[in-house]
């Protein structure tokens, strides 16, 4: 059932571009048996890195932008394949930079804000509890659903763009109350501390539950950076779009978010995650912090740890432009730069063509990055705590204790 306005969009009365966007939304509605469309408050759009999109994607986006389509709701953009300003000094090729710039420009012409971050919720695109949104980027989707209590399916970049242009999405999946109840109860029986532990836990849960909804118990305290890491790795090792954590995530405080016959699983320790995600390497080419993009608190932690010292390997802290500017204002950038580290905007090691930059080994505190990088970027990975990563950056080697 479409409203008059939606029919008008579909019939081409608002232009060919809008028509195409509406055709996408309607087709997805058919595929997932939606009864109607709903309005969305915001969109977040992935599919930005030239490394992933290639010439096919670039071509489509430029042509779509030429049709004159414009976003009608708040729309932010996922990371690009490079720092849009200092790509040259970081060693990106001119050809890559030229094509990457064209992609971002095409999005901007359509009215998408070139935020180039996977953490839109840290820089102003922060939906409210219960709002319907259309987001892509698996780590942002799971954050918005679980931690903010907003509602989105796991959109692709192009369906999120179609929603930004039509202001609609099809009402199915995680937009509906009944699909937000947990299929699994995950009882955590061990200590979970810091971003890497939460990432390791997410890795294990994602492997078990796949695309289902887990309800996690046994965690007493978790900060937002830890929850960000937990969700990101769960969405990477599985295809989880929503998790609940007892007394921590908002929906659990309102009602029972568990299905009647939910399956119970127990997690006794995180060993398996650390073992699977660690390769037996010693020399570290680059230490990567900021997957998902670093918050100001995470940057501050790194700055304090390396203040007055010098890194031996490369140290990349990836974040959004907005947080970069804030770090600069607070003097954190200077501290990190003086120690030889780099704060890099707009991109991250997962979407940048790091093979081109000659990195073969990498250390990170992000379980998501440790899950994706070996296959996606052909690097061998060490995965551990922020402290272990910074030690490796300072010494150039990874030390198992």
């Amino acid at each position: 059932m479409l409203t008059k306005e939606e029919e008008a969009m579909l019939n081409g009365e608002m232009g060919e571009g809008v028509q195409k966007a509406m055709e996408i939304i309607v087709a997805l509605g058919k595929i997932y048996n939606a009864k109607e469309l709903i309005k969305v408050e915001s969109a977040h759009i992935s599919g930005v890195s030239y490394k992933n999109l290639g010439d096919e994607g670039l071509e489509f986006l430029e042509e779509f932008a030429s049709m004159g389509v414009k976003t009608i709701v708040e729309a932010t953009l996922n990371p690009a394949g490079m720092d849009m300003e200092s790509w040259e000094e970081l060693g990106f090729s001119r050809e890559f930079a030229e094509k990457q710039t064209r992609i971002v420009k095409a999005y901007e012409r359509m009215g998408v804000k070139a935020t180039c971050t996977c953490t839109p919720y840290l820089i102003g695109n922060k939906p409210k509890f219960g709002q319907h949104i259309a987001w892509s980027e698996s780590s942002a989707i799971i954050y918005a659903n679980s931690i903010l209590g907003a509602r989105t399916n796991r959109e692709s970049g192009i369906s999120a763009l179609a929603s930004a242009i039509t202001g609609r999405t099809a009402k199915y999946g995680l937009h509906l109350d009944e699909n937000r109840l947990a299929d699994y109860i995950v009882k955590v029986k061990c200590d979970v501390k810091g971003v890497s532990d939460f990432g390791a836990l997410g890795y294990l849960i994602g492997k078990i539950v796949g695309d289902k909804v887990p309800y996690i118990t046994g965690i007493k305290i978790a900060d937002l950076d830890e929850l960000k890491a937990l969700g990101a790795s769960m969405a990477a090792s599985g295809a989880v779009g929503l998790f609940h954590m007892e007394n921590i995530t908002p929906e659990t405080k309102i009602k029972k978010m568990i299905k009647d016959h939910a399956e119970e699983i127990e997690i006794e320790n995180l060993k398996e995650a650390y073992e699977t995600l660690n390769y037996d390497i010693r020399e570290i080419d680059v230490v990567s912090i900021g997957c998902p993009h670093a918050s100001i608190e995470e940057i501050r932690k790194v700055a304090y740890m390396i203040k007055g010292r010098k890194v031996k390997s490369q140290l990349w802290i990836t974040t959004s432009r907005r947080i970069y500017d804030e770090a600069k204002r607070q003097g954190l950038l200077e501290i990190i730069n003086e120690a030889g580290g780099k704060v890099i905007r707009d991109t991250c090691i997962v979407v940048a063509p790091i093979e081109e930059l000659g990195f073969k080994t990498l250390a990170t505190n992000s379980a998501k990055m440790a899950t994706l990088s070996p296959s996606h970027s052909k690097v061998k990975v060490r995965f551990g705590s922020l402290e272990d990563c910074i030690k490796a950056a300072l010494s150039g080697v990874w030390n198992d204790n």
């Binding site: 996408i24 087709a27 992933n52 290639g54 096919e56 071509e59 779509f64």
Partner: protein, 128 residues
């Protein structure tokens, strides 16, 4: 034979059917420059999908496949129409942005490679 399906992308096309019993990955599974299926061990390996009425259960693989379908259309290597048992988002969105007629909810076992097929809206005419 006339078969009714569900419209994913409205349109009209006709041509020779090319039927796969296995799902198709557009990224990595087909060379967009030639339209030839390159996935090793795939039932259609070595066949060209260009200009065919491409019949397969559903898409699989990377979501970048959507853009590959678009690219194939630009390079004139795309199928003339797509018929699926159950269309999933990669193929659906690809067909829409590339303007390739696409119909699903079809019992694809009724169509054989080499059949002459015409797609019009939700209706499929086989050897009619």
């Amino acid at each position: 034979m006339i078969i009714k399906g569900r419209i994913i992308k409205e349109g009209e096309a006709e041509g020779e059917a090319l039927v796969s019993t296995k799902p198709i990955a557009f990224l990595g599974g087909i060379n967009p420059k030639t339209g030839i299926v390159i996935e090793r061990g795939h039932p259609l390996e070595g066949e060209s999908v260009s200009g065919k009425i491409l019949v397969f259960p559903h898409g699989k693989g990377s979501t970048v496949g959507t853009y590959i379908i678009y690219r194939m259309k630009k390079l004139n290597t795309a199928p003339a129409a797509i018929i699926n048992e159950y269309c999933e988002p990669i193929v659906a969105v690809g067909a829409i942005i590339a303007n390739i007629p696409c119909v699903d909810m079809v019992d694809i076992s009724k169509i054989k490679s080499g059949d002459f097929v015409r797609v019009k809206g939700d209706t499929i005419y086989v050897n009619e």
